[in-house]
Amino acid sequence: MNELNDNRLNKIFAELRADGKKALMPFITAGQGGLETTESLLRDFEARGVRIVELGFPFSDPIADGPTIQASYTEALAAGVRVDDIFATVKNYRASGGKLALNAMVSYSIVYRLGVERFLDLAGEVGLDGMIIPDLPLDEAGRFEPLSAGRGLCNVMLIAPTTPPDRRVEIARHSRGFIYFMSIAGITGERDKLPEESIAAVAELREHTETPVCVGFGISNPRTVEHVCQVADGAIVGSAIVHRINDAKDRPRDELVKLVGDFVSELLAPIA
C-alpha cells in the first residue's frame, strides 16, 4: 500500500491521531446552488479548520439517501450539473491551493457508466483523494480495489448496523483511508439521538483495526458530533448541512456560504 502513503486522507488522519484530535467531515452536494457555491463552500470550510470534505455526485436514483439529499441531487441534475463539471470544480479548487482531503460520494451507476478506469484516472488527475461508493459492497469491490489503490486513491467502505461481526472486520481490512460506519440501518437524514448499540459497535470495531473509523447517518448537531467522537475518529454530517444550503439558496452566495460555514463552525466546536 505504498502508493497510498502520500494520500491526503491517510496523512490527515495520521496527524489528527498524533495530536489526539477528531475529524468533522461535512458532506455537500456538488452543484447544489451552483458549482461556484460548491467551490466557495470548500474554501470557507477549509478556512474554518475542516480537513476532509465529502463531495456528493448528484445521482438520479440514490436509494441510500433520504429526502433532503435526494432533493439536492434532483435539483443539481435539473440545473444541468455533469460529472465533468464536478471534476473541473475540484481541479480549480486544487489549482488555487486548496488542501482539503476530498472524498467523492458517488454511485457505482455513475462510475460504471464512465468506465471504472476512466473515472479513477480523472479522479486522480483533478485531485480527489478517495471515494465512497455506497452501492459497491465488499462482495463486488474485488476488481475495484487494486485499480483505485494503484492510482493513489482510497476506496472507503461502509459498515452497517446490520453487518455481522465477522464481516465488519473483513470490511475494515479492505477499507482504505477510513471506515464509514453507518450509525443507523436506514437512509440518510437528521436524527436527534443515535443508537447506543452503534456507539458500542464502533468502540468494538476499533479494537480490531488500525484504520480510522468515522460515523455518519443521522448526525445533525454539535451534541451528536461530540457523542460519536467519544469513540470514533470522526463524524460525517450531510443532511443537516444540505438542508441549510437549501434554506439559504435565494440569498447572495457570500451570505449563503457564511450561514452554512457558521453552522460548520458550531459542529467543529466540541472537537476543537
Binding site: S109, P134, D135, P164, A185
Partner: protein, 415 residues
C-alpha cells in the same frame, strides 16, 4: 426444481450480468434471503406447499388456448395463448408473490413491502399478504395511481396500504427506489417482495424459479395438444418475469424466443422503455444489466402506454440472453399495442392487459410470415380489466369510439 442449474453462479451472475450492487445495510437481508431460498427449493415440503398454493389460491394450471379465429384471420402459424390472465388476481404476478410470501413465513418476518407499476404485482402481493395474515405496504408512483385506479382500490380492499410516490417520473422506477429505501430501515422484520427478475441476487433467480410454472405447464400442454413444442414463443418484457417464466423451461430446446419491449412513441431516449433494444450495460436497482441511461450514468426518462413496462431497466438474465443471441428482443409501439388489444378482444373475446398486448402485436406481425404447420405460443401475461378506462380514453381521442354504444342501441331498436 431448477431447470438450469448453471446460471447464475454463486454471486448471482448470468455471464457478466447480475450481482449485488446495493448498500451494505441490505447485504445481510439478501444473504438471509438467498440462504432461505436455497433451503426452501431443496425442501420437498416447501415445494409441495408452494404447488398447493399455486393450485388452490392461484388457480393453476392456467389453460393453453388455441386461437381459432385469430389464426384464421392472420393466415399463417397456429397461434396459442398461455392464459396467465386467467389466474387469480388477473396476471402471472401471483405465482411469484405466493412463493415469496411462503419464504417470508419461513424467515419469521411479519410485513411485506412491494413496488408496483401497473398495480398487478401490488394486487398480487396484497392478496398473498391477506392469505397469510401479513402486513402489506405497496409503493406506487402517482402517475400510475392515476392510470391504474382500479388496482389501487383492489389493493386497499385487500387490506394493503398504497403509498404514493411523487419523485422522478412518478412511475415504476421511482416506486422501486422508495421500496428499497423502506427496506434499508426495515429489513430485519420486513421482506421486500420484488416483482420481477430484476434487482440484486437472489431476486432474479428466485423470481424466475417462482414463475417457471408457466413454462413447465406450457411445455406439457403443447405436447399434449400438438405432440411437440412450439416453434416460436413470444412474451412482453418490462423487467422480464413473465418472459423468464415461460422461456426458462424450454430454453435448452429448439424453440425460437422473442421478447417484446415497450416501443412507446418513438426511438428517441425518453419516448420508449425498450431497454434491451436501445440501452447499454449499466447498474440500476442492485444489478448490472442493460439500462436506459445518459452518458453520466443518470437514469433516463422512459415512456410506455403500459405502466407495467414503463421501466428503464431489465432483468440481468435477459441481458445475457441478448448477448448470447438466445432470445431475440424487439419492440412494439403504443399504437400497435392498442391495436392488438382491439384485435384480440374482437377475434377471441379476450381483453388483454396493455403489457401482454405488446406480445400479441409482435405475434400478429410474425404469424402471417410463418407456414400453416408452424406453432406460435404467446404468453398472455395478464388481463386488461385494469386498463379499460385508460384504453377507453385513448380510443376516444383516436376517434375509434365515436358513440359505438349509441349505434349499437339504435341497431337493436331497428330490429
Amino acid at each position: 426444481m431448477s431447470d438450469r442449474k448453471e446460471q447464475p453462479d454463486g454471486a448471482g451472475y448470468f455471464g457478466p450480468f447480475g450481482g449485488r450492487f446495493v448498500p451494505e445495510t441490505l447485504m445481510s437481508a439478501l444473504n438471509q434471503l438467498a440462504g432461505e431460498y436455497e433451503a426452501a427449493i431443496a425442501d420437498e415440503g416447501f415445494r409441495a406447499e408452494f404447488n398447493r398454493c399455486l393450485r388452490e389460491i392461484g388457480g393453476r394450471p392456467s389453460e393453453l388456448y388455441f386461437c381459432h379465429r385469430l389464426t384464421e384471420k392472420l393466415g399463417g402459424a397456429k397461434i396459442y395463448l398461455k392464459r396467465e390472465d386467467m389466474n387469480h388476481t388477473g396476471a402471472h404476478k401471483i405465482n411469484n408473490t405466493l412463493g415469496q410470501a411462503l419464504l417470508t413465513l419461513r424467515m419469521g418476518k411479519k410485513r411485506l413491502i412491494a413496488e408496483t407499476g401497473a398495480g398487478q404485482h401490488g394486487v398480487a402481493t396484497a392478496t398473498a399478504a391477506a392469505v397469510f395474515g401479513l402486513e402489506c405496504d405497496v409503493y406506487m408512483g402517482t402517475e400510475d395511481i392515476r392510470r391504474q385506479a382500479l388496482n389501487v382500490f383492489r389493493m386497499e380492499l385487500l387490506g394493503a396500504r398504497v403509498i404514493p410516490v411523487d419523485s422522478g417520473q412518478r412511475t415504476l422506477k421511482d416506486a422501486t427506489n422508495e421500496a428499497m429505501r423502506d427496506w434499508m430501515g426495515s429489513c430485519e422484520q420486513t421482506h421486500y417482495v420484488l416483482g420481477s427478475v430484476c434487482g440484486p441476487h437472489p431476486y432474479p433467480v428466485m423470481v424466475r424459479e417462482f414463475q417457471s410454472c408457466i413454462g413447465r405447464e406450457a411445455r406439457e400442454q403443447m405436447i399434449s395438444a400438438e405432440g411437440r413444442l412450439p416453434d416460436v414463443i413470444v412474451a412482453c418484457v418490462g423487467g422480464g418475469s413473465n418472459a423468464a417464466g415461460i422461456f426458462t423451461p424450454m430454453i435448452d430446446d429448439e424453440v425460437e424466443m422473442v421478447g417484446v419491449e415497450a416501443g412507446g412513441t418513438g426511438p428517441q431516449l425518453g419516448r420508449h422503455a425498450a431497454t434491451l433494444c436501445e440501452g447499454a450495460p449499466g447498474v440500476l436497482h442492485g444489478s448490472l444489466s442493460y439500462v436506459l441511461q445518459d452518458d453520466d450514468g443518470q437514469t433516463a426518462e422512459v415512456h410506455s402506454i403500459s405502466a407495467g413496462l414503463d421501466y428503464p431497466g431489465v432483468g440481468p438474465e435477459h441481458s445475457q440472453w441478448k448477448e448470447t443471441g438466445r432470445v431475440r428482443y424487439t419492440r412494439c409501439s403504443d399504437d400497435e399495442a392498442l391495436d392488438a388489444v382491439v384485435t384480440l378482444s374482437h377475434t377471441e373475446g379476450i381483453i388483454p392487459a396493455l403489457e401482454s398486448a405488446h406480445a400479441i402485436a409482435e405475434a400478429v406481425k410474425l404469424a402471417p410470415q410463418m407456414a400453416g404447420d408452424k406453432i406460435l405460443l404467446i404468453n398472455l401475461s395478464g388481463r386488461g380489466d385494469k386498463d379499460c378506462n385508460e384504453i377507453g380514453e385513448i380510443l376516444k381521442r383516436r376517434g375509434q369510439r365515436n358513440n359505438s354504444a349509441d349505434t349499437e342501441r339504435q341497431r337493436t331498436r331497428e330490429l
